[in-house]
């Protein structure tokens, strides 16, 4: 059986923190450049500055955004793999190391309501584990800012709800996020599963960089993106043709009584990085 040392996991997670916080993914840079071409005036200038921001961050002195986020880890563990030591500890240690060594902001408090004391390490990360076939360990890290996360929503529709009703809910979520959540956005949508499942799907959708393989959902992604851009919320919510860069839908089977829909808003600084060990 293949064995991975927990120190290897810790070091790789720390590296992912650095990569995600300082290097904007290529597909986002490309989408920002294309959007810049479509805009004029103030919106164009804002997108130019957004691209300049990514250039400055690339030099690895200043992170892309001061809100270096909640660390969200998606882990796929091959069932034929053995981890030497505690996987959970190795992952959390990697976040602590990555956030400390790379001068990232520690934004996590220990208790939501009463104490709210900063943990000073940005741990605990939110970790989602999946057991899969094989003997590899796949780690995907997302640094998710608070402003955009605060504007995300979920709604439990009736199973007979129409496509139009779903789109209307997504649009109203995007409009409410407006200038608060740093547009142009990337929109992650989770359809189906159950209450917590839909929320998780909507977050996983943000890790994708290609449109849907299913032709129905691919078409729906395109339709929603067009409608979002017709809101003219624009970059920074100050008007413009481009309000969202991408829309990604993840879907799953669900109960005969339900049609859950979760919308996870991601700011233009869509920070994620992954590795397979």
């Amino acid at each position: 059986m293949r064995v991975i040392k927990n120190s290897v996991i810790t070091n790789n997670v720390a590296k992912l923190c650095k990569q995600a916080a300082y290097i904007l993914p290529n597909e986002i840079t490309r989408a920002l450049k294309q959007s810049k071409q479509k805009e004029r005036g103030q919106a164009k200038k804002i997108l130019e500055l957004t691209l300049k921001n990514a250039e400055i961050a690339k030099k690895q002195v200043f992170p892309l955004c001061q809100d270096t986020g909640t660390a969200v880890l998606f882990i796929e563990i091959g069932q034929d793999l053995k981890i030497d030591g505690s996987l959970e500890n190795a992952l959390q240690a990697g976040i602590k190391k990555g956030f400390t060594e790379n001068y990232l902001r520690k934004s996590i408090v220990s208790d939501p309501l009463f104490i709210r004391k900063n943990t000073k390490t940005n741990t605990p990360a939110v970790i989602h584990y999946n057991i899969v076939k094989g003997n590899k360990l796949k780690i995907n890290l997302m640094l998710k800012g608070g402003g955009a996360e605060n504007k995300s929503q979920i709604k439990m529709f009736n199973p007979t709800a129409s496509k139009e009703e779903i789109i209307e809910f997504i649009l109203s979520t995007v409009k409410a996020a407006g200038p608060y959540a740093c547009p142009p956005f990337i929109i992650g949508i989770g359809l189906g599963s159950n209450f917590e499942g839909a929320a998780l799907l909507s977050k996983q959708a943000l890790l994708r960089n290609k449109s849907n393989k299913n032709p129905f959902y691919k078409k729906l992604e395109k339709e929603i993106l067009q409608k979002i851009n017709k809101t003219h919320i624009g970059a920074q919510g100050l008007g413009g043709k481009i309000t969202a860069l991408k829309v990604f839908i993840e879907y799953a089977p669900c109960h005969i009584a339900s049609l859950p829909c979760a919308v996870n808003i991601c700011c233009h600084s869509a920070r994620h990085a992954g590795v397979v060990l």
Partner: protein
């Protein structure tokens, strides 16, 4: 779209600004956010002299050795709205930099006294590179939520509400 540079940040100079002006700002600003507001307003004697100063709703990343600042960009202003009236009354500040529209109440209490600027959200690297000096002056135990005195140079900001109450997000009164 107007674009010019503001260095003199007296109220007289700020009164020339109009909602929608896209300017670069050079000034000493006081960086603080949610928890610092809560703590400051509970103090028996207000511990800072912020008369005629500009506050910036933000929480920077830690400063790397040999540099002046970490990444610095605006946080959502509307979360500070519940403190806004009392804070302006106690400090006599003349400018606020933040992100996004504010409540009618906050817009009303800024009217005639405080210019509201929005900095570009998610552009912390650009913001950090505009910092010439940064010092924690209060509540270091709050970490990123401490109060910082920061010298900014040529920070791109947009005037969201001018002293007359014109507001880029819509009517304020």
């Amino acid at each position: 779209m107007k674009s010019y540079e503001i260095i003199d940040t007296s109220l007289k100079e700020l009164s020339k600004l109009k909602a929608g002006d896209f300017i670069t700002l050079t000034a000493t600003v006081y960086v603080l956010r949610d928890m610092a507001h809560k703590k400051l307003l509970k103090e028996k004697i207000f511990p800072l002299n912020l008369k005629d100063k500009i506050v910036y709703y933000a929480g920077p990343t830690p400063t790397r050795k040999g540099y002046k600042s970490g990444s610095l960009g605006p946080t959502t202003s509307v979360r500070m709205d519940k403190f806004c009236k009392e804070f302006i009354k106690k400090t006599s500040i003349i400018g606020i930099i933040g992100k996004g529209p504010r409540s009618k109440e906050a817009n009303t209490c800024m009217l005639g006294k405080v210019v509201y600027f929005v900095a570009l959200g998610g552009l912390g690297a650009l913001g950090g590179s505009c910092v010439k000096n940064s010092t924690i002056i209060l509540y270091p135990e709050l970490g990123p939520e401490a109060v910082y005195q920061v010298q900014i140079e040529n920070l791109p900001v947009i005037v969201a509400q001018d002293l007359k109450g014109n507001n880029i997000y819509g009517e304020c009164l």
